[in-house]
């Protein structure tokens, strides 16, 4: 492979979906699936002004790398791109990009879905909702499941 198969990063900068695709491009890949989580303005009647993300950065990066390794052990992957934004993320902007390259699309879809689902359960990142009326609250999340436990399940 021309470049390293994993790209794992946390950043306060805006995310770049084109760069994610460029990283995953490979002559061994036939299908690349990119999931991008974005800040949604409305949840029912609640208006979100922005999300603000906090993380335990070195552990989050380590857990993200472990997720990538785990996905690559489960499916034949040609590359994994996992980037999460920290700090403020306004509506319509990306908070997370999960990208997977594989020879065939079924594996790309399955691994991508697995990675975003597991990232939301296992990686020490937290979001705070800041509402348009000024209220703020930390989102009640998932009790963290170490990815290692998942593997034994």
């Amino acid at each position: 492979m021309a470049h390293a198969p994993f790209y794992i990063h946390l950043t306060t900068d805006p995310l770049d979906v084109g760069a994610a695709f460029a990283f995953l491009q490979s002559p061994a890949a036939g299908g690349i699936d990119l999931f991008v989580g974005t800040t949604r303005r409305w949840t029912g009647e609640e208006e979100t002004a922005r999300l603000v993300y906090d993380a335990y950065v070195p552990m989050a990066e380590r857990e993200m790398r472990r997720l990538a390794e785990d996905a690559a052990a489960r499916w034949p992957l040609e590359g994994v791109y996992l980037v999460h934004r920290l700090g403020e993320v306004p509506p319509a902007e990306a908070s997370v990009i999960v990208g997977v390259a594989s020879a065939h699309r079924a594996e790309a879809f399955a691994a991508c879905r697995y990675l975003i689902d597991t990232l939301k359960k296992a990686v020490p990142i937290w979001k705070r909702e800041v509402y348009a009326d000024g209220r703020e609250e930390w989102v009640e999340g998932a009790t963290p499941v170490p990815e290692g436990d998942d593997r034994r399940a």
Partner: protein, 86 residues
């Protein structure tokens, strides 16, 4: 500080750092301390933490750990409330 005491660094994030007003606590522990006994100590000192005790998972030196994990001087202990990334 007794010779057996061990100093560990406790990291708080998200709702815990908001409630306590700090992101880092330096805590001195007696010999034989575990993650669980550290949580007990902290819950007494910081009532805001006590309310979250049941949902906190521990990480020691950036790895998830159970409450019976023994702690040593210099350990970095993170208190992980339910995560909500993505």
């Amino acid at each position: 500080m007794a010779a057996e005491d061990a100093r560990v660094t406790v990291l708080l994030f998200s709702v815990l750092s908001d409630r306590v007003g700090q992101r880092v606590l330096n805590v001195s522990l007696p010999a034989g301390a575990t993650g669980g006994s550290l949580l007990d100590t902290l819950a007494e000192e910081y009532p805001a933490l006590a309310a979250y005790r049941a949902v906190i998972r521990l990480a020691v030196n950036a790895e998830y750990a159970s409450e019976d994990v023994p702690l040593a001087a210099g350990d970095e202990v993170a208190l992980i409330t339910p995560v909500s990334g993505g």
